[in-house]
Amino acid sequence: MTYIDHIFACMAAPMLIGMLFAEGRRRPIFIFILSGMTACLLSAYINSFFAGLYGADVATATAEITPVVEEIMKLLPLLFYLLVFEPEREQAQIAMLVIAVSFSTFENVCWLVENGAGQLNFLLLRGFSTGAMHIVCGVLVSAGLAYAWRTTWLKVAGTAGLLCSAVTLHAMYNLLLSAGGTVRIIGYVLPIAAALLGYSLLKLLHLPEKSAQ
């Protein structure tokens, strides 16, 4: 049994102290890190609840319950930030990125505590793959929201659509990992490839803006 609440307390304590010493404008970054980790912690509880409620085994819970719960939980802090503080597009994107990174980091720490850190090669693959998956989903949602929230007619449907895209991507990843052999390797490589593709696309799209400046 993994005491994820204990791990959370241990990891959140330095953040809370650091937040006290951070200046006003730098404080939000600590809040987003904490939000990401809290979302991960709550996701674990909610996943366990639904898995128990439906009597789901690990494979079913991973492929069907976890993606929905985790992506919704990751989106909630960003939605709160967007609705209450109405930030600039860039700030919202950074917020989602930090939430996704901290979510993924906390998930990896819990996984390490449960499974050990003996195999470096596998851990590297897992670390990059899971991290890439959460970041790709986060960037997809934040970049999409930045566009969707500029137009009133796209707000609700756009948010739902983006959330569903992230959930599907996450679910596909979990589904591919639940299979063995080549399919599993494809599952590991898919988010890394998506992250590289997304990074290249973003660079390409930003290039004309920079040259114009």
Partner: protein, 207 residues
């Protein structure tokens, strides 16, 4: 096997429609095409997950329907399409016939609740009922104003809704995983309706 072929066909159709609509969006910069691209994109993502799940596990999802979330989002986009294409006069127009759609949806919700989840059925039939209301109103309005092109888009949406209802009703009386099952006829019909919607939208909005 038939289910996999059916899903693969639908995935190919929706992916192709997403691509075509995406090109139209970039070329013509029209709101309707953006919504349609999102509609087909969400539909394709749901199909992709369903197909991959079916291929890997050899059965369909049982608990949380990830695909259903995508399909719900797609029908939310469809609702936006029928609501946003209406002009100011059409928006003020009311006709009692439009209420047929919510009435049918309510009756079918009660029927489907015998099998599936209550909340899910209410959301699905609610979306269909409201979309149907907008489409019937749009259809009558287009007929009165002799705007045949706009009438086609509303008819295409109504056809999609009818196909969905037939599909769900057929799924309540599952026969077998063969082509003799009416479920597959309606699912192939749904794929065809999705293409018809694109053609109708191109005629109505593309000019």
């Amino acid at each position: 096997m038939v289910e996999i072929i059916d899903n693969a066909v639908q995935l190919a159709v929706t992916l192709a429609c997403t691509g075509v609509c995406g090109c139209f969006t970039l070329k013509r910069r029209k709101q309707a095409y953006t919504i349609l691209t999102c509609y087909y994109g969400a539909l394709a993502m749901g199909n992709l997950y369903w197909l991959v799940y079916d291929l890997i596990t050899s059965y369909t999802p049982k608990i949380f329907y990830v695909s259903d979330l995508c399909w719900m989002a797609s029908y939310l986009f469809l609702l936006m399409l029928v609501a946003s294409t209406a002009g100011p006069e059409e928006r003020a127009f009311r006709h009692p016939a439009a209420w047929i759609s919510p009435v049918i949806s309510t009756a079918l919700t009660a029927f489907y609740c015998q099998w599936g989840d209550w909340v899910e059925n209410i959301i699905w039939c609610g979306l269909m009922g409201v979309s149907g209301w907008f489409s019937i109103r749009g259809c009558i309005w287009a007929s009165r104003s002799k705007d045949i092109r706009r009438r086609h888009i509303h008819l295409a949406v109504l056809l999609l809704i009818a196909m969905e209802y037939c599909l769900w009703t057929a799924s309540c009386f599952w026969v077998s995983d063969t082509l003799a099952n009416p479920y597959f006829w309606f699912d192939f019909g749904l794929s065809g309706s999705a293409v018809l919607l694109l053609i109708a939208a191109e005629r109505a909005v593309g000019k």
